[in-house]
């Protein structure tokens, strides 16, 4: 039973981090139909910028976080303007390849600036072990769950209450109609990319707090795919639910079956879902006969 609780907690926290990475991914897909293969690199950049703020400039973590978010917004806008905007209307494969190229470019920039050795991260969130129901888990991992929940809430608020959020949904629904309503589609794309970079930066800082900062953080970019497909590519609650399910699944498989199967189980699930229900749990069902 203890094992079960331990695994559940680990799964939930991993799932929360996955969900954070997936939120930005879904946001970009929802508003601009772009699959972002560089999401993991956004996480990486967020983690390293936060690291610089805390260690190299020794700022308090609040100011550091705000500055990190600003940097993330800047990167999001620049990436959208320079890479994605010229490719509007190009075939899917071009857009996919552009974000793949972007991912290797960003990774190279990060390694040039910070090197590629993993480093310890000064924990700005307390990481003392906490005992919950007989299981032990780091406090920062529990914070990850809380932060993911808060982000989900904020996102929902943003999409239902704010002008930009509603405009973003309009663009996602029909670009031309949105344009004729006076919405600047380009601005919305820039918004989407900077918000995605921001959530990724928060996710990155969280993961770095838990496991330290190193180039392998970019690996989250790939783990996001099973999450978003399971939850539905264009569904924000789906990203969170998908993240939690995949996180729990990996934890249980790793704990009860082992044999390294937890590394691949998500992708097996991914294929199965694609065969049975490509639009995922909460995604918009588009009937597309092939």
């Amino acid at each position: 039973m203890d094992l079960f609780i331990q695994l559940t907690l680990t799964g939930l926290t991993n799932g929360a981090i996955l969900a954070l990475a997936a939120l930005g991914f879904v946001l970009i897909y929802k508003s601009s139909d772009v699959i972002n293969f560089a999401q993991g690199e956004f996480l990486l950049i967020g983690a390293y910028v936060m690291f610089s703020m805390l260690v190299q400039f020794s700022l308090p973590w609040t100011i550091g976080l705000v500055l990190t978010l600003l940097v993330a917004v800047g990167i999001g806008v620049v990436v959208e303007r320079l890479v994605l905007r010229p490719l509007i209307g190009e075939p899917i494969i071009s857009v996919i390849m552009a974000t793949i190229g972007l991912s290797s470019l960003l990774r190279a920039i990060v390694s040039t600036i910070w090197g590629n050795q993993p480093r310890a991260f000064p924990s700005f969130i307390p990481s003392k072990p906490v005992h919950v129901l007989g299981a032990t888990v780091g406090a920062d991992r529990l914070w990850a769950i809380v932060i993911a929940g808060v982000m989900l809430f904020l996102f929902n608020l943003f999409f239902t209450r704010s002008k930009e959020g509603i405009a973003m949904r309009a663009v996602a629904d029909d670009q031309q109609a949105a344009m004729s309503m006076g919405i600047s589609v380009k601005r919305i794309f820039a918004w989407a990319w900077s918000i995605a970079a921001m959530t990724a930066a928060i996710g990155g800082a969280l993961v770095a707090n838990i496991v330290g900062v190193g180039p392998e953080l970019a690996g989250f970019g790939l783990q996001v795919f099973p999450v978003v497909i399971l939850g539905g590519l264009d569904s924000i609650p789906g990203a969170v639910v998908g993240g939690v399910i995949i996180g729990l699944l990996e934890a249980y498989v790793g704990g009860y079956i082992g044999m390294g199967l937890n590394q691949v189980i998500a992708f097996i699930v991914l294929i199965l879902i694609l065969m049975v229900r490509p639009y995922g749990l909460f995604g918009q069902e588009i009937i597309e006969r092939v």
Partner: protein, 347 residues
């Protein structure tokens, strides 16, 4: 006064070599390939061999992605199937190297077709994600099925011998690799003169229209995956015998991305484009390494940032080509030809 290449009969439109100039260029190219190894040193020969292997793989991927329009991120996984099958056949069951290449290619074709099944329900980015999963699953199987593949440890393949010749010596391998590359190119060019090839292109351009016209999507998509994976298997098996060592690190997702980059930079849906792309993506890192070496005296720090510089260039080249010349090197080549054909009245 010529103003372009126009065909007035179906025979000329269907011909493999359409213009006299093309025939001359092909003869020159073949002559170059035949003469090259006698003047090349070991380093350039290695590069030429890598290009030949990459060309076969790129043509394979181009059949699937460029001609049939099915995006595949599983290239690395399929190459791993080819390489490991060839290696294991030779090591465990003593199959001669040429036999192992043939069997490995067939096995890869079957595996490719199996992973092509999701393509019946998926297209576009969903298919890309499905093939990404295929890549991860194949690589996981390779690294975890220790009893068969030896897991993460390298598989050492014995030297391929042909009447006492060591076939993986650079000079000998050159002939094998380029002969196979030539055969692959010829087969592919001819494939797209048959009704199979035209069905593939029809699926790419409009799958529903293709089905209405009687193209069985199920059959032809699987066939495209199979044929494509066959050539990918050939290149994987060649790699195994050339390198004498098979490790999983050579077949990661980066390889899939590299090959996609090759066909995008070279030109989608074109055999010559595959050759251009394979050459470009093989020569570019080599060129960078050499530049780094010669700059070392002036700028000593370059050694430590070289790997990052390679990665950054790789990303930048992909992005720049997509934005500036989405049709790739093939289009640039056409433009150059047009310029001279129409000169001096190019308007």
């Amino acid at each position: 006064m010529v103003s372009g290449v126009f065909h007035t009969s179906y025979e000329s439109d269907m011909a493999l070599r359409r213009t006299p100039a093309q025939k001359i260029r092909i003869v020159l190219f073949v002559l170059f390939i035949l003469v090259f190894p006698f003047f090349a040193n070991k380093y350039t020969l290695t590069l030429a061999n890598q290009i030949a292997i990459a060309t076969i793989g790129a043509i394979g991927l181009n059949i699937l992605t460029g001609y049939t329009g099915q995006i595949s991120l599983g290239q690395g996984g399929f190459m791993a199937v080819g390489a490991y099958t060839a290696g294991l056949l030779t090591v465990r069951w003593g199959v001669p190297w040429w036999g192992s290449i043939i069997i490995a290619s067939l096995v890869t074709a079957v595996v490719g077709a199996i992973f092509g099944i999701p393509s019946l329900r998926l297209k576009g980015l969903y298919l890309a994600i499905a093939t990404l999963a295929a890549q991860e699953i194949i690589l996981w199987t390779v690294t975890h099925w220790k009893a068969l593949t030896g897991g993460v440890e390298a598989l050492v393949v014995p030297d391929p011998k042909f009447f006492g010749l060591r076939m993986n010596a650079d000079f000998n391998f050159y002939w094998l690799a380029w002969a196979l590359a030539g055969i692959t190119a010829l087969v592919t060019l001819n494939l797209f003169r048959t009704h199979y090839g035209r069905a593939f292109i029809a699926i790419r351009d409009q799958d529903i229209a293709a089905e209405v016209m009687g193209v069985d999507l199920f059959r032809y998509k699987l066939l495209a995956f199979g044929i494509s994976s066959f050539f990918v298997g050939v290149s994987g098996a060649l790699l195994a015998h050339y390198r004498s060592i098979v490790t999983w690190e050579r077949f990661t997702l980066d390889v899939s991305v590299l090959y996609l980059a090759m066909i995008i930079i070279g030109g989608m849906g074109s055999v010559s484009g595959s050759l251009f792309g394979a050459s470009f993506m093989t020569l570019l890192p080599a060129l960078l390494t050499n530049m780094g070496r010669s700059l070392r005296k002036v700028f000593p720090a370059i050694n430590s940032i070289m790997p990052f510089l390679q990665e950054a260039t790789f990303g930048l080249v992909i992005i720049l080509f997509l934005i500036l010349e989405p049709e790739g090197l093939k289009k640039l080549w056409e433009d150059i030809k047009d310029y001279f054909r129409l000169w001096p009245f190019s308007y």
